[in-house]
């Protein structure tokens, strides 16, 4: 698609340029335009073919080199930067005009003077025109191409960001969770309206924080724990006595900033993959503690553990997403580990730098 657009743009540009040069020469020399057209097109096409040919050869060589070194191939196909252009331009400017003029001679039946014969004013004009036109055209075309490839790259990056955002939202507004919660709420409204109201408040807080999470860069650890408490309160209603919750957040750590919804996906994993599938349920413990200049956050569950069922469809995204966010915010200074918990279940630990 892109290559075709590039091709038709180049052809259009070539035609305009060649016609313009032919018109200029006609005005200069005052003869008929047809031989000038023949020459300018011959030279133009020769220069163009040489440039493209050179670049294809260079691209092939680069890809071959990369393949040989085991590096990934460049997605753009060939090098649209200056490194690819300059040698191609030199070859085109040196070989294009004599070649094009020979072709032009054949087409018109005329005989142009040798280009090495620089005393003739005619030759000087032709050479100067060709050189200027070639340089100008290659410059214009490569600039156009670089602009469009930069635009395509920006579009790609934007699409990727949007997709990742969407997947994050989808993973958190998981339909199974949402509809089961609503079903519980529906029953509770009939049985126990005050409790239904409390549950609805938790659901509202949960939805609000999920939808807003992408906007803030960080929030206090206390807020993170409140969101987890909201989610676990919803799950507590759903799972009843099968779920036991313990949250530990020391007062002195409450104000520490953390990326929003950092722990949430881990807590949801513990519930969905650890405790919900377990017949007797179990407990989930979320805790924060300080070790010298490091903040340690842990999510431990007594669920079916890592060796249980494989990841559900769409599973594994939560953990990958937490890892990715840690890497973006803290680089190599943060660690995340997943291990079997003592006595069964799973333990996920995050260590963050405090400073």
């Amino acid at each position: 698609m892109r290559t075709r657009r590039r091709f038709s743009r180049t052809v259009a540009f070539m035609i305009v340029l060649c016609v313009a040069i032919a018109a200029l020469l006609t005005a200069w020399e005052g003869e008929g335009i047809r031989p000038h057209l023949a020459y300018s097109f011959s030279i133009g096409i020769c220069c163009w073919s040489l440039t493209e040919g050179m670049r294809l050869v260079a691209a092939g060589a680069t890809d071959g080199w990369r393949r040989w070194r085991g590096q990934p191939l460049s997605p753009a196909g060939f090098d649209s930067g200056w490194r690819g252009i300059v040698p191609a331009l030199l070859v085109a400017v040196v070989l294009g005009p004599p070649l094009g003029m020979t072709v032009g001679d054949r087409l018109t039946g005329l005989r142009s003077p040798s280009l090495l014969h620089l005393e003739a004013a005619q030759t000087r004009v032709t050479v100067a025109m060709t050189v200027v036109a070639s340089i100008a055209s290659v410059f214009v075309l490569s600039t156009m191409e670089r602009l469009s490839s930069a635009r395509a790259q920006a579009e790609g990056a934007q699409r990727q960001a949007a997709e990742s955002q969407l997947r994050l939202l989808q993973s958190q507004l998981e339909p199974h969770m949402l509809f089961n919660t609503l079903a519980n709420l529906r029953v509770l409204i009939g049985l126990d309206p005050p409790r239904a109201q409390a549950m609805l408040d938790h659901l509202i807080a949960y939805l609000r924080s999920t939808l807003a999470a992408s906007r803030a860069a960080s929030h206090p650890l206390a807020a993170e724990f409140e969101r987890i408490a909201d989610y676990l309160a919803l799950m507590g209603v759903r799972m009843g006595p099968r779920l036991v919750v313990a949250l530990t957040l020391p007062d002195e750590l409450k104000a520490l900033p953390v990326p929003p919804l950092l722990l949430q996906p881990l807590v949801e994993n513990s519930i969905q993959h650890g405790l919900e599938p377990k017949v007797d349920g179990g407990c989930i413990e979320v805790s924060a503690s300080r070790h010298a200049d490091r903040l340690l956050l842990t999510v431990r569950d007594s669920g079916i553990g890592l060796g249980g069922t494989g990841p559900r469809p769409g599973g594994g995204f939560g953990l990958a997403q937490v890892r990715e966010r840690l890497a973006t915010v803290y680089g190599a200074r943060a660690t995340l580990s997943v291990a079997p918990a003592e006595g069964g279940g799973t333990l996920v630990s995050i260590e963050l730098p405090l400073a």
Binding site: F179, L185, G240, R242
Partner: protein, 267 residues
């Protein structure tokens, strides 16, 4: 409604409020219905249904232990002959593939949250089916057909085919080419892997192994048994619909359940 005998039901739903809600709604819509068991996981659902033999089973699809679909599959395989097979209603919060399969089928399904009019329609449907349930065998046959299409509707994740089974005993790992396996048999949390000469144990649930096998070569004949087709010598059907398989390279006789009996027909 002309059924004289009381209609007994089993409710399998892991979320206590939802179970209570469903039970209360059913009581209002169908006072004659007696809920004989209310369970919160798949394994209890299967055990209780086999023990109490209710006429109606309402099964949540996603439950701890066996899923609702697996309970139905096991019921179809283990249901005693001569007793009418229960009418199954699946309950699900969101389960696209199952819903798609149901749409074409007659078994009812409910989507949570279940509203009263929808539940009333379901009750009416169940009552109609119970009233003209003259032929129990027909119910079972219909259910078997529905289950087959449901089980087939599970989207198989794109998993690469397994070529070699790695069976560990102590610190020795033995490599068994999949092609040499005569059959796999589920045994609790393990899987028995039987070749012509030997038997190995691996720690992999059948559910996980199955998508990695070529379905043309390896046939599931029972919820716990997968046989390599070219190793089956003969199939003999008994009057209850079960099929007994003899093997080429092994002395055992395997049982194919009713659910898979249709695989064995003369050409």
């Amino acid at each position: 409604m002309t059924t004289m005998a009381p209609v007994r039901a089993l409710i399998a739903e892991d979320e206590p409020l939802l179970a209570a809600g469903l039970r209360a709604d059913l009581a209002a819509l169908w006072p004659e219905l007696e809920v004989v068991a209310q369970v919160g996981d798949g394994d209890s659902a299967l055990a209780q249904a086999l023990a109490l033999r209710p006429e109606v089973c309402l099964l949540d699809i996603r439950m701890p232990g066996l899923s609702g679909l697996e309970v139905a599959q096991s019921l179809a395989e283990d249901w005693p002959d001569g007793v009418p097979f229960p009418l199954l209603v699946f309950v699900t919060a969101y389960d696209q593939y199952a819903l798609q399969a149901f749409d074409a089928q007659a078994v009812d399904y409910l989507v949570k949250p279940v509203d009263r009019p929808r539940l009333a329609a379901c009750v009416e449907r169940l009552q109609r089916r119970l009233a003209d349930r003259a032929n129990p065998a027909q119910t079972l046959q219909a259910t078997l057909g529905q289950l087959r299409s449901l089980l087939g509707a599970n989207p198989a994740p794109a998993v690469p085919r397994l070529e070699v089974i790695q069976a560990q005993t102590g610190n020795l790992v033995q490599l068994v080419p999949v092609d040499e396996v005569v059959y796999f048999e589920a045994a609790d949390k393990y899987l028995r892997v039987l070749t012509a000469e030997r038997e190995h144990l691996i720690r992999m649930p059948l559910k996980e192994l199955l998508p990695q096998l070529d379905p043309q070569r390896f046939w599931q004949v029972h919820r716990g048994t997968v046989v390599q087709a070219r190793c089956i010598a003969s199939a003999r059907r008994d009057e209850s619909g079960k099929v007994f398989l003899t093997l080429r390279n092994r002395p055992e006789t395997l049982v194919a359940s009713r659910l898979y009996a249709h695989l064995f027909k003369g050409m």
